[in-house]
Amino acid sequence: MKNRVVITGLGVVSPNGVGLDAFTTAIKKGQPGITFHQQLADLQFSCCIGGVPLISEEKKLEYLTPLQLRGFNSSGILYGCIAGMDAWRDAGLSIDPKSKLDFDSGTVFGTGTSGVEKFREAIYKLDDKQVKRLGSTVVVQTMASGISAFLGGILGLGNQVTTNSSACTTGTEAILMGYERIKNGQAKCMLVGSCSDDGPYIWGGFDAMRVMTYKHNDTPEQGSRPMSASASGFVPGSGAGALVLESLESALERNAKIYAEVLGGHINSGGQRQGGTMTAPNPEAVQHCIKEAVVNANISAIDIDTINGHLTATSKDALEVENWTKALDRQGNDFPYINSLKSMVGHCLAAAGSIESVATVLQLKEQFVFPNINCDDVHPEISNLISEEKIVKRALKTELNIAAKASFGFGDVNACIIFKRYN
């Protein structure tokens, strides 16, 4: 007997809205969170725009203690703690430093790299022969599992506490890893999500690869253009998304609010074969991942009402849409609605999958499709495949039952989740 798994809490720290209410309002309006960053210009980046959540010093103190904030320099851990703690409270669960250890609750909270600014600070000291003066804060902020370690202690989690990492698939993968654990009866409740640092030291490598747009330094809000003919590379973002997953039984027992059900999904890799490389997806594997997700969720491709794509605003968007049409065997007017949150917040890298999943779940809960902004000129290769009406440009109120969310990452890795409205 496998457990059904539902979502009972959400938390989000996004460039266009910190907290669930601000974020919900922002995605309904199509409000962008991309701004110009003088620091990037000073460092001679080609792309000087990015998505950074705004967090005040007072806000930090609502989540972390003055001791935790001493020598603290890890934006990803900050975003992850805020999103994770918000999701926990949103699920009606309490946060108490003296709480009893809970062996039934754990976390899978992913990241790409942790505390890159803290690491930089440490390296400068080390090279200056000051290793003795690093203090105790370097390890916990720069170890990959820093975020799950912080959250595990704040919440008193006694089940698995770990961090996964699979490039831009990380957040979506984390959700499926937590889902599996509950489905198989190894945990009752899993906080799942992911976070990513912001700033030049995390974005520089992408700038060097010329995969970020350099054409919108004067027009940051128009920079991120998924599915558009004038898309010219992604805009970097940052932040965190978090979801509380719980067995349906446990949620009903607690009389918890239920946002949606996780019906299933799939994770695979293209093995960097058949057109797949370190940085490009193997189309056959992407299609296989989507098809297997549909099978695993025990639905038919025709049941999918809306797709939240990976869609980064690079030349690969048309290929992704083609993969969806082939995997689902649906095209033209028969294709589901499709959108990309990246048009508003940029590509939040390791945090992308979780922030975008929060947006997808909100769509099911509140029955709307959020708009694609900066997509008035749909790429002709995309409009040849699907009807332009499926790429909504204004928030659309409509009945939605099933949403598919996919993420793809460097290393040729893929993840696809099927969410269902709960009623």
Binding site: P66, L67, R70, G71, R133, G135, S136, T137
Partner: protein, 84 residues
Amino acid sequence: MTKDELIAKLKTIVQPYIQDEAAFDNLSEDTDFINDLKINSANLVDVILDVEDEFDIRIENDDMEKMISVKAAMGIVNEKLAEK
């Protein structure tokens, strides 16, 4: 620097790390950093860095290991200040 002045300075330094308010309020020469103030052992290195900064001294590994109480800290600080 008088003994009381030194204790007052150490008290300010350890304040961010303590987890037992009552023991902190009654801090004296006999107070132990871990057993009384419940300072997380990982934070002892941070206390030592703050002591180094406050008194502009350097504390070596051997002395660090001994610095687990107010009394031991006072002894080491006085010794290093005398060497200056």
